[in-house]
């Protein structure tokens, strides 16, 4: 393997990892605050791509406007799911909310199958994401480069939101100890709603970039990325937003490299994340950037 080939795979891996990371942030924030695995998160991402799709094809919006509208709608969807399906169960045994989350996931998938049909639809790839760039011996789709840049840019925003705003402080406080927060004069429910909205909007960006990459969408497209993003979140240390992105990068790069080095394993690519999850659980259950929290 030449250095060129390696760099080529590295940038492809970073591109893929960015997408996992963007989805993983939503998982990790919700888990950090509610200790809930939001199974519907991958499907929320899928919905965002349909919002964008119809924005472009039906309402003839320019792609960036469609993306913005889709982000807003997805955030709204995330908040609605929480308020409608999870909020009534905050005091119920934890298993109830988990079952509901699976129900919501299955609901979104199957409503989409009924409404949108199971046939994949081609997704629009804007002009600026189409050129193929050459750096030395490396060939990269401009979309991949933009995806990485967008992810890094969003990371700055995430940092500001989580560490520099009152809402972010509240979020971190809730994830440390949910019960003391109402005492601090913070409206717990608003914090949770914000978390769902913010995480869903980021998943929307990830989803739309995902859709441009392949470039097609279908109702079950959220399942596998959702699972892998969760693995990325665990790998990075659940509850830690930067860990989630780091985990995404690691997962994306390893997946791409694995297939590059051992093409005969390419059929098992989707099984790799699972193996990684088991290994993380055995050797470092708190993940790379996770801290041991007292129970």
């Amino acid at each position: 393997m030449t250095i060129h080939l390696f760099l080529q795979q590295l940038i492809n891996g970073l591109g893929l990892g960015s997408l996992y990371g963007l989805i993983a942030i939503g998982y990790t924030m919700v888990y950090g605050i509610l200790r809930l695995i939001n199974f519907a998160h991958g499907d929320v991402m899928m919905m965002s791509t349909y919002f964008a799709f119809f924005g472009i094809s039906v309402f003839a919006l320019p792609w960036w406007a469609a993306a913005l509208v889709a982000m807003a709608l997805t955030a709204l969807l995330g908040i609605t799911i929480d308020q409608g399906a999870y909020r009534p169960l905050r005091r119920a045994p934890r298993i109830s909310a988990l079952i509901t989350a699976i129900g919501v996931s299955f609901f979104l998938e199957n409503v989409s199958l009924v409404v949108f049909g199971s046939r994949p639809r081609p997704f629009f790839r804007p002009e600026m994401f189409r050129p193929i760039w050459h750096f030395g011996g490396i060939t990269v789709l401009s979309l991949t480069v933009y995806t990485i840049l967008i992810t890094l840019g969003l990371l700055v925003i995430v940092y500001v939101v989580v560490y520099k705003t009152r809402m972010g402080m509240a979020m971190r406080a809730v994830s440390k100890d949910m019960h003391t927060v109402p005492l601090m004069g913070i409206d717990l429910n608003r914090v949770i709603a914000f978390t769902f909205g913010f995480g869903s909007a980021l998943a929307a960006i990830g989803g739309i970039l995902w859709a441009m990459k392949y470039p097609q969408i279908e109702p079950l497209m959220g399942i596998i990325p959702g699972l892998k993003a969760f693995v990325a979140a665990v790998l990075g240390g659940i509850g830690n937003v930067f860990g989630a992105v780091l985990g995404g990068f690691i997962l994306g790069i390893t997946e791409i490299m694995l297939v590059a080095f051992w093409p005969e394993l390419s059929g098992y690519r989707d099984a790799f994340a699972f193996l990684l999850l088991i290994l993380v659980l055995i050797f470092r259950p708190t993940g790379i950037m996770g801290e041991d929290l007292p129970e």
Binding site: I37, F39, S96, L98, I102, F107, N110, V114, D270, L277
Partner: protein, 367 residues
């Protein structure tokens, strides 16, 4: 001290009086069921026998699924994976070398499997054991650290099973699946397994082990402080559930005679989740009732996917996939508005049943 009259009274009350009476009543009930099944096997048509078989398989699956989810309280999404494991491993055991040769047309079957051929019963047990071994392999890391992740690990495992079944051409025959599996399964097998599962799991749940499992569900902190090893008990419940699910998978494969990776999707797990939720998480009785109701009900629900004629005036077109949407709505609605389900955590008891007739309605025994 032991002669204390209060002491004896409390003790008697606890052992719920008449164990022998209960055993006899249970045997009579099982006898009646066998008689009814015998008649059904004689006179019912193929369609209804098929449903009866499916009811038994669903009872087996729901009761074992409830052991880990309802009784032990560990949220898991494993059934489709373990059913697939059981189905594949048992089918590969019972298929004759000739059948394997006919099936594996792209790549020949691996030598260590190609010449194996065992009768149905050992094949079922191998199916169960395969699932149980994988349950141990997954349960060990998960329960050791973050029980929370059990759901995602089992969900991921379901996907992995599909990926592996699709790719291991020389073992599973890949996407082509296995065809022409002998149809060994009949009412005796399916209901035999259902009764065995019920026998084992009910007796376990009513023993000291069952109390420990419920204690872990209710309050893991207290359970561990009282010397209960929660790790080992979760692993026990999960592995036992997998064992029966694997055997149910073996039954299923030898009932439908054709299996492929596409057959064991998450939909199966989702159905079972609805069953145990509607029956009451933690009630084995509820799981049995709901398994029966669900199997019939979902047959009826097929109507929504087919065109329906209303009074001969106009026709509502069927909506393919609508059934799944309805199932999802049922599950969410049940969690939000009817978390107790049919039985809550109550179980059937003869005491309660006889009370219905003698007018002394004391209510079913809780937990």
């Amino acid at each position: 001290m032991k002669d204390d009259i209060r002491f004896i009274r409390a003790r008697q009350r606890w052992s719920a009086g008449n164990r022998r009476r209960n055993t006899i009543l249970t045997l009579i009930a099982v006898g009646l069921l066998c008689g009814a099944l015998f008649l059904a096997g004689r006179f019912a048509d193929e369609y209804h026998i098929r449903i009866l078989n499916m009811v038994a398989i669903y009872i087996t699956l729901a009761v074992s699924y409830n052991l880990i989810n309802g009784i032990t309280g560990q949220f898991s999404l494993e059934p489709n994976a373990f059913v697939a494991l059981g189905a594949y491993s048992a089918s590969l055991m019972t298929m004759t070398p000739l059948e394997k040769e006919m099936n594996f047309i792209i790549d020949p079957c691996v030598p260590w499997l190609a010449h194996v051929c065992v009768p149905f019963l050992p094949a079922i047990i191998i199916g169960g054991l395969t699932a149980a071994i994988f349950a141990l392999l997954m349960g060990f890391p998960v329960f050791r650290v973050r029980g929370d992740y059990l759901a995602i690990v089992t969900l991921g495992f379901g996907e992995v099973i599909r990926v592996v079944a699709n790719n291991m051409q020389t073992v599973t025959n890949g996407p082509l699946g296995l065809k022409g599996i002998a149809m060994y399964t009949d009412l005796r097998w399916t209901w035999g397994l259902a009764l065995l599962t019920l026998f084992v799991i009910v007796r376990l749940v009513n023993s000291s082990y069952g109390r420990a499992l419920k204690a872990i569900r209710e309050n893991e902190l207290a359970a561990e402080s009282m010397g209960i090893n929660s790790f080992r008990h979760k692993l026990l419940a999960f592995t036992l559930a997998a064992f029966f699910e694997g055997m149910a998978g073996a039954m299923l494969a030898h009932l439908i005679t054709t299996i492929s990776p596409m057959l064991f999707t998450f939909f199966l797990t989702f159905n079972l989740l609805i069953i145990i939720v509607l029956g009451g998480l933690g009630s084995l009785t509820g799981s049995v009732i709901a398994a029966i109701a669900f199997t019939w009900g979902s047959e009826l629900l097929r109507a929504v996917e087919e065109p329906t004629n209303v009074f001969g005036w106009f026709t509502i077109p069927g909506i393919p996939g609508m059934r799944m949407v309805i199932f999802a709505v049922i599950l969410i609605a049940a969690m939000l508005f009817w978390r107790e389900g049919i039985m809550g955590r109550k179980e059937f008891s003869w005491q309660w049943f006889l009370g219905l007739f003698s007018g002394k309605h004391k209510g079913a025994k809780s937990i």
